[in-house]
Amino acid sequence: MSLTKTERTIIVSMWAKISTQVDTIGTETLERLFLSYPQTKTYFPHFDLHPGSAQLRAHGSKVVAAVGDAVKSIDNIGAALSKLSELHAYILRVDPVNFKLLSHCLLVTLAARFPADFTAEAHAAWDKFLSVVSSVLTEKYR
């Protein structure tokens, strides 16, 4: 699965808006994840997951920044996320099913914040893009 030119244009242009709210988007995405899919909290026993927690904010920013890295290297996401891919394969070992859950929560966050931009076409482009990112992050699992 690879992104068409149109899809890349949509992602990159929306990112310009998104990048101004990186911190809050990250936090909101994780809040949505932990509330809708409580089992995902099992990966964070060492975290304070209460809304407003500094750890939640920091981690949310990290996640969205990584998505930003993928956007900036949208022609070669594999290379951009290579280290993260290794991290997830050998250290974090998050079950692959969770990437879909996180992707969905990020999509919902974007849809809520940028309703006018989130056309059907944009929705499709983002869903595909996050699917590609998820594939990259799990490609070294076995």
């Binding site: 909101e28 809040e31 949505r32 509330l35 809708s36 899919y37 969905h104 999509l107 919902v108 966050t109 849809a111 809520a112 914040r113 309703p115 989130f118 056309t119 059907a120 076409e121 929705h123 499709a124 869903d127």
Partner: protein, 147 residues
């Protein structure tokens, strides 16, 4: 299976009361067909599905979307017995329509996304969580009589 708390029910019913099923139906089914094009396999008789704009503007897609969301509206009145409410529809989807239940999960998530677009900030993480329970319950009920 899905145990809806009083808060869940309140979040679901109060939001649903605001939804315009005419608009949301077409939007939801249309987006399913755009975002997950393989779902078009069930709709060969719907005419042109050749582009996002063709799909989103297709009157048959809109009409069918309204049908689906209307049915969901019925479910919302019976949150404590989704399996009962959807028993016959489950048989229909298995025996006549031959729909892989995975499609119910996809549609549910598209609906959640559409609600986020429509209600923005009001679609808080807590409200979303109630709705995820709802769409998971519906998907499960629709799959319950598969054999």
């Amino acid at each position: 299976m899905s145990n809806f708390t009083a808060e869940d029910k309140a979040a679901i019913t109060s939001l649903w009361a605001k939804v315009n099923v005419e608009d949301a139906g077409g939007e939801t089914l249309g987006r399913l067909l755009v975002v997950y094009p393989w779902t078009q396999r069930f709709f060969d008789s719907f005419g042109s599905l050749s582009s996002p704009s063709a799909i989103m503007g297709n009157p048959k897609v809109k009409a069918h979307g309204v049908k689906v969301l209307t049915s969901l509206g019925e479910a919302i009145k019976n949150l404590d017995d989704l399996k009962g409410t959807f028993g016959q529809l489950s048989e229909l989807h298995c025996d006549k329509l031959h729909v892989d239940p995975e499609n119910f999960r996809l549609l549910g998530n598209v609906l959640v996304t559409v609600l986020a677009i429509l209600y923005g900030k009001e679609f808080t993480p807590e409200v979303q969580a109630s709705w995820q329970k709802m769409v998971a319950g519906v998907a499960s009920a629709l799959a319950s009589r598969y054999h």
